[in-house]
């Protein structure tokens, strides 16, 4: 009962995630929306991947540019295992295929980790980058393991399920992804509280002192890297089950960059930041890339804005409000937020409009696409739309700057107030039921 009382948010999220696809359920045909399920499965897999990346970046302070190597190799291992099960050489339930991927990731995590964890900081980043390039090139070169450009295809319907599910529909796969995502997230959460997790933090903050205390920072890095490979491999195994194919782009630099973007946009500081970041990045990738040619530009701009103005990521932005929330004065922020909203929206619209104009004049025209807003065809070569876009951008920026000044003033006052309130208030009694 105590467990339930402390961990109810996990259960709540699980229930919400199980119920969410039913919002898009097609009652007339009696089936789920395939797009939504695939999207959510993708988010699940990428969330595991991003969390495992954060074991390196957030916890151990190791910036890796080749984390997809572990994800992809895990995926390849899982694909081979599935094919072996299919051929009858070994027996393994479908539910445990991600574990096979995880073990593959663990193995390669140890092998590569032995090499890369000799260094830290920039040298570590460069070695992982070189390793990423090597493996993604090798994936195209060696046919037996990687299958060349075509990759390796599998058939996930194996009839070896423990619970008697055949995994023919995306819904069944989604449930499996959800289960594994929760298991992996819970394990990674627990790992942060182990001695190894704490030592990883210590070597991140001051590796020399950690050395003095008697720990070998390299062993800490190696163990952390290997474990992170295990979880990335689990993600890879799930990836194979969702798409039934694994190609060389699972090990590519672009995949590694995705994890980096997700972790940084979400925030590397808190445990749940990467999940938040994954949701944003995957939605941008899958949702916006359908609507716009320039989705990568939006991701880039979002990334730069985050780096410049919110180094703590989205989770950092949320946590910034905590002192004011505790002081119970969130209501006083409503008006400043409401005042900043219209200029921010104007800037956003102006920017998006301008980017879309530019992308439709060059890339869109080459693809024979037309720019329409609400059925109205827009001539991208005429000066008028450009003037509107630039005017919206510039006016919005000036207005936003004006509002931002007022906002900051109000913010500082509230922060000051909440600090004073905290100082004067008697120390609160700890949780009533320990």
């Amino acid at each position: 009962m105590n467990m339930l009382r402390r961990h109810w948010p996990w259960l709540l999220v699980l229930v919400i995630l199980l119920a969410f696809p039913f919002l898009f359920y097609d009652w007339t045909k009696g089936r789920h929306s395939g797009f939504v399920l695939t999207l959510m499965s993708e988010i699940g897999v990428m969330a595991i991947f991003a969390l495992s990346y954060n074991m390196l970046m957030g916890q151990a302070g190791l910036l890796s540019f080749g984390h997809a190597v572990l994800f992809g190799l895990g995926a390849y291992c899982a694909a081979h295992v599935v094919n072996m099960v299919k051929a009858g050489t070994i027996w393994l339930p479908t539910e445990l295929i991600p574990l096979a991927g995880g073990l593959g990731g663990l193995f390669f995590g140890y092998v590569f980790g032995w090499l890369v964890t000799k260094q830290r900081a920039t040298a570590f980043a460069m070695i992982t980058m070189g390793l990423g390039e090597l493996v993604s090139a090798a994936a195209l070169m060696f046919m037996a393991f990687f299958g060349g450009e075509g990759g390796i295809t599998i058939d996930r319907v194996m009839d070896t399920s423990l619970v008697g599910v055949r995994y023919t529909s995306p819904w069944q796969v989604y449930c499996l992804v959800l289960a594994w995502a929760f298991i992996a997230a819970a394990l990674m959460r627990l790992q942060t509280q182990t001695a190894l997790g704490k030592m990883a933090n210590a070597t991140r903050d001051n590796f020399e002192r950690a050395q003095f205390v008697g720990y070998d920072p390299r062993m800490v890095r190696l163990m952390q890297f290997t474990l992170s490979g295990f979880f990335a491999g689990i993600g890879g195994g799930l990836y194979v089950l969702i798409y039934e194919i694994v190609t060389f782009d699972t090990v590519s630099a672009a995949k590694s960059a995705n994890a980096l973007l997700a972790v940084y946009i979400g925030g590397a500081g808190g445990f749940f930041g990467p999940i938040l970041g994954t949701i944003v990045v995957v939605l941008l990738q899958s949702g916006v890339s359908l609507l716009s040619n320039a989705w990568l530009l939006y991701v880039g701009v979002l990334f730069i804005v985050m780096v410049m103005y919110a180094p703590g990521g989205l989770i950092g932005l949320i946590f910034m409000h905590l002192p004011i929330w505790r002081a119970g004065r969130m209501r006083e922020l409503l008006l400043p937020y409401a005042r900043a909203f219209p200029p921010a929206l104007l800037v956003l619209l102006g920017f998006v409009f301008m980017v879309e104009l530019a992308s439709f004049t060059t890339i869109g025209a080459a693809q024979g696409k037309r720019f329409t807003i609400g059925g109205q065809l827009i001539d991208t070569t005429a000066p008028m739309p450009w003037v509107i876009a630039i005017a919206a951008l510039v006016l919005g920026a000036l207005w936003l700057r004006h509002e931002a000044r007022g906002f900051r003033q109000r913010w500082d006052e509230l922060m000051e107030g909440s600090k004073r309130a905290q100082a004067t208030a008697a120390p609160k009694p700890q949780e009533a039921v320990a």
Partner: protein, 315 residues
């Protein structure tokens, strides 16, 4: 023999092009500690600027104007972007330039299109200079060699003979001390960053029509330049020079020699068949892994000698 001489010349040309890119990056990395991911993007911008300018005014003005434009962009990035991000630490700086690289690539795609642009060698230089063993050596490659040699001389003179060069050298190894002596280190940072991007732009101007001017050119060139910088070692221009030439030569020679490990083993009387373990790895020929050799070398040197060839401190 003929293959050797021709490859040597081509390797030199490619190596000098690499050096032009890497010299700026090595200065930026050793002085500011910023792993500048947008450096190869400046190379790409240089090529595209030169293409557009040469359509209207001609190639020769573009040789000056495009690098200057790149340098101005670099100065802007440093003053309004990097300096702001600096307080959040090195990783934030690195990620900032990473985002910038994404942004520039997409911006180039939106301005000039997804396909390669027809940026050609100027007509004045479009003739074979001489023939060795029946292979023509284009005059443009000689011109590239000349430009990069001039640039190398200019950098070397600038760094060793001028006052500002000496301050840069001081700031390279002891930025805090140089600042304590009253030199305006932030301004030197801006200057070096701008000069580095301008050099990358120049490399783009003369490299864009030697290779292909396309939106992916930054992404293919970027990692190689990192390899050169790390391999040469931080804080050492001469190490960077040696590494660039070495990488250029390795990459060109690897394409020429069609051998594999299996051939080597055959010399010792060990025949590799398809049933030998690791047969696939043993039979891979050198040209196929030529592009990978630099990365392999970088990984090895970082693992065993993290300060690079002639570096003054660990990476």
């Amino acid at each position: 023999m003929e293959v050797f001489v021709v490859s040597l010349l081509n390797g030199l040309v490619y190596g000098m092009l690499l050096f032009m890119l890497a010299s700026g990056l090595t200065l930026i990395l050793s002085m500011m500690g910023v792993l500048n991911f947008a450096h190869a993007s400046a190379y790409m911008l240089g090529a595209y600027f030169a293409y557009t300018i040469s359509q209207y005014i001609g190639f020769w003005p573009a040789l000056i104007i495009a690098p200057v434009l790149c340098g101005l962009i670099g100065a802007g990035i440093e003053m309004w972007g990097l300096r702001r991000v600096h307080q959040n630490g090195h990783i934030a700086e690195l990620l900032f330039t990473f985002g910038l690289a994404l942004l520039i690539e997409k911006g180039v795609q939106m301005t000039w299109g997804l396909l390669p642009v027809p940026y050609r060698v100027p007509e004045l230089l479009d003739f074979p200079l001489f023939k060795i063993y029946g292979t023509q050596f284009p005059a443009y490659r000689a011109f590239m060699l000349l430009i990069s040699a001039l640039m190398f001389g200019a950098i070397w003179l600038g760094l060793t003979r001028t006052r500002i060069g000496l301050v840069i050298q001081a700031a390279l190894t002891h930025p805090d001390m140089a600042s304590a002596l009253g030199h305006n280190v932030p301004r030197i940072f801006t200057l070096v960053f701008a000069a580095g991007t301008a050099l990358a732009g120049l490399a783009g101007v003369i490299g864009g029509n030697y290779q292909v001017t396309e939106p992916a050119m930054a992404f293919t060139m970027g990692p190689i330049v990192f390899v050169v910088v790390v391999f040469g070692g931080l804080g050492s221009l001469s190490g960077c020079f040696i590494a660039s030439i070495l990488m250029g030569l390795i990459q060109t020679f690897a394409v020429v020699f069609d051998v594999s490990l299996a051939d080597l083993l055959a010399k010792f009387g060990f025949v590799v068949t398809s049933s030998t373990p690791f047969a696939e790895i043993l039979t891979v020929t050198l040209p196929r892994i030529g592009a990978l050799l630099p990365f392999l070398m970088m990984v090895l040197i970082l693992v065993f000698r993290p300060r690079g060839l002639m570096g003054t401190r660990d990476t």
